[in-house]
Symmetry: C2
Subunit: 484 residues, 2 copies
């Protein structure tokens, strides 16, 4: 009973959006659910998230943070205590009005983010400068009732981590905000092979209630940007709203300075769109659920040969596991090797090993590289020694490919006309005055927004705003791009 091969994907040059939707379902990352805008994250997608979690969590702990868990439900009135926060989040709340068969006296919101309930507890936990800094993080689900949803990119429920810290001084809190942005950027580069750009959001794009929002922006293969992680400095805004004070060294009462920073399942969308091609996913080896898949190949009606090949595949897999490689043997029956190759190609497995009776005789195996498409014959006994290094180089090549692509798709505009033209094809550096009305007008005309004021990049010195002709609002040229 042969299994039908799935149809090919829409070429991503032709319709990137269709390509994305096909990939997420056909690579078994997600499925629809009966609840509008909520998706099931299937095992292959969830394994990616587990790998992201493990690495990020280790980085959080290495920078002194501890995990904890706050309640899912937050009294709706809490959101009203911080004026900008309520404006930003109220329209998207999902609200529990009934529980235990009765109407609640006061409605409870499913957390869209937890600053408010955390503020309430921090006010209780923080008394003295000795209690600071408070460096906490939680891994949780959150909900924002979005109208248009897309798997990973915009979903009513999503999984994330939210770090929430409190500090004695603005300086320390600003350092923390930057430190966690750098953690995100380092993670994106070193584990996901995505050369993100670090920068600061303009006032209009800040988190609701923040004085500063830092962001990492990733370039997708259609030239658009994806905001991939943000880190916020709240100043005393939440401390004042929730009365989080401490006795300082001089025994004077002062407000703490807080930060928050978040990274979500949205990043899986970034991985898909930063690396994928017309055959499907290409996964960065350090996060791939399977770094290597071994497909044993046997002739029909050759039970002996099948057993020998199966035994050798298991032996190679054990040797690779011992070398620290995440490896899977695909011994499924009723599917042709070609069908399996297609599946693992679509699922973006970095290296495939094909192992048939002839290979066995020659004492070799064929290693297929998902990025270059090359097939190399490698001696069986050399595999465990060779593959960890090959995976490391795969990561570097993937990073280099993404960096080249990014750099080829960032341009600079000196006039508004140039901006309008160039932003159709990628990201554009341009001087901007910082006026929110001008930002809005540019977005209206081009669908592009200011992604960030980059921490590094061309200086704006001696230039004027491409849109208004006014002086630059920032020390550097900003990055305009269309975005997810």
């Amino acid at each position: 009973m042969p299994v039908m091969a799935k149809r090919g994907l829409t070429p991503h040059d032709e319709d990137f959006s269709a390509w994305y939707n096909e990939v997420v379902y056909e690579a078994d990352l997600v499925d629809h659910s009966p609840v509008r805008g909520s998706f099931v994250i299937r095992p292959y997608g969830y394994a990616l998230w587990e790998n992201i979690q493990r690495e990020l969590d280790a980085m959080f702990k290495a920078t002194g943070h501890e995990n904890l868990y706050f309640p899912l439900l937050i009294p709706v009135e809490f959101f009203e205590r911080e004026a900008q926060h309520v404006e930003g989040f109220s329209p998207e709340l999902a609200v529990v009005t009934h529980a235990g068969g009765k109407e609640l006296e006061a409605p409870l919101a499913i957390r869209p983010t937890s600053e408010t309930i955390i503020g309430e507890l921090y006010a209780k936990w923080i008394q003295s400068y000795r209690d600071l800094p408070l460096l906490y993080n939680q891994w949780a689900n959150v909900m924002r009732w979005e109208l248009r949803t897309r798997p990973f990119l915009r979903t009513t429920e999503f999984l994330w981590q939210e770090g929430h810290t409190a500090h004695a001084t603005a300086e320390e809190a600003l350092e923390e905000t930057r430190r966690m942005l750098d953690v995100y950027a380092t993670f994106a580069r070193d584990f996901a092979a995505i050369p993100v750009v670090e920068g600061e959001k303009t006032e209009g794009e800040r988190f609701a209630g923040a004085l500063q929002t830092l962001t990492i922006e990733a370039m997708m293969r259609d030239g658009k940007a994806l905001q991939s992680g943000t880190s916020h400095y709240m100043g005393e805004n939440f401390a004042r709203a929730f009365d989080i004070t401490f006795n300082d060294l001089d025994n004077e009462q002062a407000y703490v300075h807080t930060t928050s920073w978040g990274f979500s399942t949205r990043f899986i969308g970034a991985i898909i769109m930063a690396h994928g091609d017309d055959a499907g996913l290409i996964l960065p080896p350090k996060l791939a659920p399977h770094q290597v898949v071994i497909t044993p190949i046997a002739k029909r009606n050759d039970a002996d040969g099948a057993e020998r090949v199966g035994r050798e595949a298991a032996r190679v897999a054990d040797a690779l596991r011992a070398a620290g490689v995440r490896v899977k043997v695909d011994a499924r029956e009723g599917m042709s090797p070609g069908w399996k190759f297609n599946e693992w190609e679509r699922k973006g497995v970095p290296l495939r090993i094909e192992l048939g009776p002839k290979d066995l005789e020659a004492g070799t195996a064929v290693v297929a590289d998902r990025l270059s498409g090359e097939k190399t014959s490698v001696a069986l006994d050399a595999l465990a020694g060779d593959l960890p290094d090959r995976l490391e180089r795969f990561h570097e090549r993937l990073m280099e490919r993404a960096r080249s692509f990014r750099d080829a798709h960032i341009d600079e505009a000196h006039t508004y006309e140039e901006l309008v033209e160039k932003v159709e094809h990628g990201w554009v550096y341009a001087t901007h005055c910082g006026d929110p009305e001008s930002e809005a007008a540019i977005q209206e005309a081009t669908k592009a927004t200011v992604r960030c004021i980059p921490l590094e990049g061309p200086s704006a010195e001696g230039t004027t705003c491409v849109h208004t002709g006014k002086p630059s609002g920032y020390p550097r040229k900003v990055i305009f791009a269309k975005a997810y």
Copy 2:
């Protein structure tokens, strides 16, 4: 500015319930939240949960299960598809009626458990016998609107894992149900040092919709039982309700057989109440956030001494970490060593190391054992070699203490009067007919319930029900006990 020592705990012989409430707050495991029945799990409590998760998750994966994630919200009407399930869970649902500023067309419940939404997806994913077994698990938050709540034991929101599997035959599904019960029992014994009893629930105590519910029951130090993990065989109940069918080997359509199994933050309550004493927690070393806490001690106004002691504490900590020990150096200023000792005693750290100038001169450190209370002098250079073994023996002694306590508090009753008398002091084996009305009458009179029909224990052969005089309903005597 000296920190005030916290007051002592209520002795647990005097008021076990007051002792429990004091311990959970004063050991910084939880805090109240502004939402009734929801608690904040503080870093020290959450670190326990992370350790539980890590070990259980490895056991699930070693038995072939994969993780995935289903939506938080479930259409309320889904619960109505399985008659017993809706009866069991409807009264406890928290319901979202409004989202995104509008009233929803159909209300959505926050999951109390996910059989229904998972059933809907399994019906889509399972077509052929080749798709079976489906062995999935999710780590998630769930909500059951309880009236009376207690930290960890009964909370409106709690964290858990729920495994959901589908099989071609009843036999395979029953094997899985038992396999996962054994995983729970092994975990409880080997990691938490809790000698749980494995058994089957009577019909009245089964999970809503299950044909068989297996349980692990743990004995608390007040002689009560705590149900600590359950594994359910659903037969075809959910398959029929959600139309989960497959083409079998003969190409005939058949219903799958499903199981589910869950383990939650409730187990933290079991750890507290199975091991704690009047001084606070006693944590099993394999799950303790800190297995060893080192307190450097220095004389006032001896900065040089303080520096030498601090340096040596850091060196010992590094050596212990390299030996695989989770170790913390408590270098906080402004607190006396005695205050710190009390705190780590209350927090149940298995081994404490005290390191002062005199110890340094002698080349030794004092190792204090939380279980025995003994203090031993150990050569500094021997610590890293000695402590891993000492922690292993701590685990064994803790297990032995719990086993002795359990065995001393299980008795057997041959008459109803004996049952009534003995169940005041612990667990009681007695023959029962299996009649639900008799079970209810016994509960009414004694507040004790049938905890389980144990998988091992005294045979009921030749005996009759202590309550009704009718023949035994089960091959073994059941266990009666009061329970949390």
